[in-house]
Symmetry: C2
Subunit: 244 residues, 2 copies
Amino acid sequence: MGDLSAGVVVIGNEILSGKVVDTNSPFLAAELRPLGVTLRRIATIPDELPLIREEVRSQHASFDLVFTSGGVGPTHDDVTIEGVALALGRRVVVHSDIADKLRAFYGDRINPARLKMAEVPEGAELITDTSINFPTIKVENIYILPGIPEIFRAKLEGLKPRFNADPYCLKIVYTRVGEGTIAEHLNDTLRQFPELLLGSYPKINHPEYMVKITLESKDAGYVGRAFVHLLTVLPEGSVVRTEE
Amino acid sequence: MGDLSAGVVVIGNEILSGKVVDTNSPFLAAELRPLGVTLRRIATIPDELPLIREEVRSQHASFDLVFTSGGVGPTHDDVTIEGVALALGRRVVVHSDIADKLRAFYGDRINPARLKMAEVPEGAELITDTSINFPTIKVENIYILPGIPEIFRAKLEGLKPRFNADPYCLKIVYTRVGEGTIAEHLNDTLRQFPELLLGSYPKINHPEYMVKITLESKDAGYVGRAFVHLLTVLPEGSVVRTEE
């Protein structure tokens, strides 16, 4: 238990060129939050070694957990393994367990492209406790996940038990008045509760509310007191409803 | 005409915490591509000044165009203007044109929070040629856009005529065989056409194809020759269909 920070490196020209919408990082964000893991950065970058090396190196140094998404198949544009290895100053080696598995699976259809999928940064750990037959490659604090959403999700599901941190406690207030009206009350609440994570999200043309206010902390008592304070200072009649 | 590179800084704790899915950066990616603008980076970061300053500074130095999404309202977590100003070493000033507009709109309901929306990095340009009544703030190569998707889109629509670069020419090949089978032929094509942008995207359980191969270049003749070459080297019967 405790605090865990995380970052994700999404590797894929197809996302930057608008051909594919990245659904892996939103999925990761939504999965990590209830575990209490704080996602601090999503970086989507091209399939280019120097860029992968720099981003992975930076996130590796900054966060407790780093996830990569994409670039792990058998083709020329799959350079994530090499990029992660470069970031850590490690060599790329063929992992004999994976190579054996690939040879057993493909038989005489094995070829250099397929064997490329046995390459890992030297010293990598193989994690096999997921529903997917192919192991997840972990090296230091970096989890290397594939871009295909179905496999990304299945692998992450298997990894989740490793990442339990203290959960966040969330309370929500919906108002029928706009941000310009409530801003001073939010500021007042933050002065009283400087550690509060306070979000304010206006919605256009919503039939029920104008602003969704989120209050969060890993300390349930703290967020409870901030919630009561905010409800006390907001103008009478401005609250549509709350969620706790 | 020519080549234009771009980056986008998505600012919002709500995205990193999984409360909201960012639809602005996928929209931007899909809009920029047909214009020939090459999106090189999407960075999603928290509402924190030092992080905004660093990311904006980095993208400002690296790309022709930088877009920011989010963090421009009247509340405490709206710190994008200040972050951009810090990145450029500029002061934050009140723009009198915007302040006048806000005062005219709000009358005696004007307050400090609402007036905050008149703040801009010193020397910013106001762009008013969109369907949105509130101007878009531009400073150097940075376009500051709001997080609310409806407004982000409307503003971007108005800005698009500024960004015409040479368009990409795209051809697509769908194969009924997997990446492990075609990888060597993709590599062969890249050896012959080293400047080709070649993407390979496997799909799980698709009824029609296993891999979508994309060939792109700003030189239509070049991509045409690469396309013919790839079709020549792929195994007989492996192509489901093509798109040009």
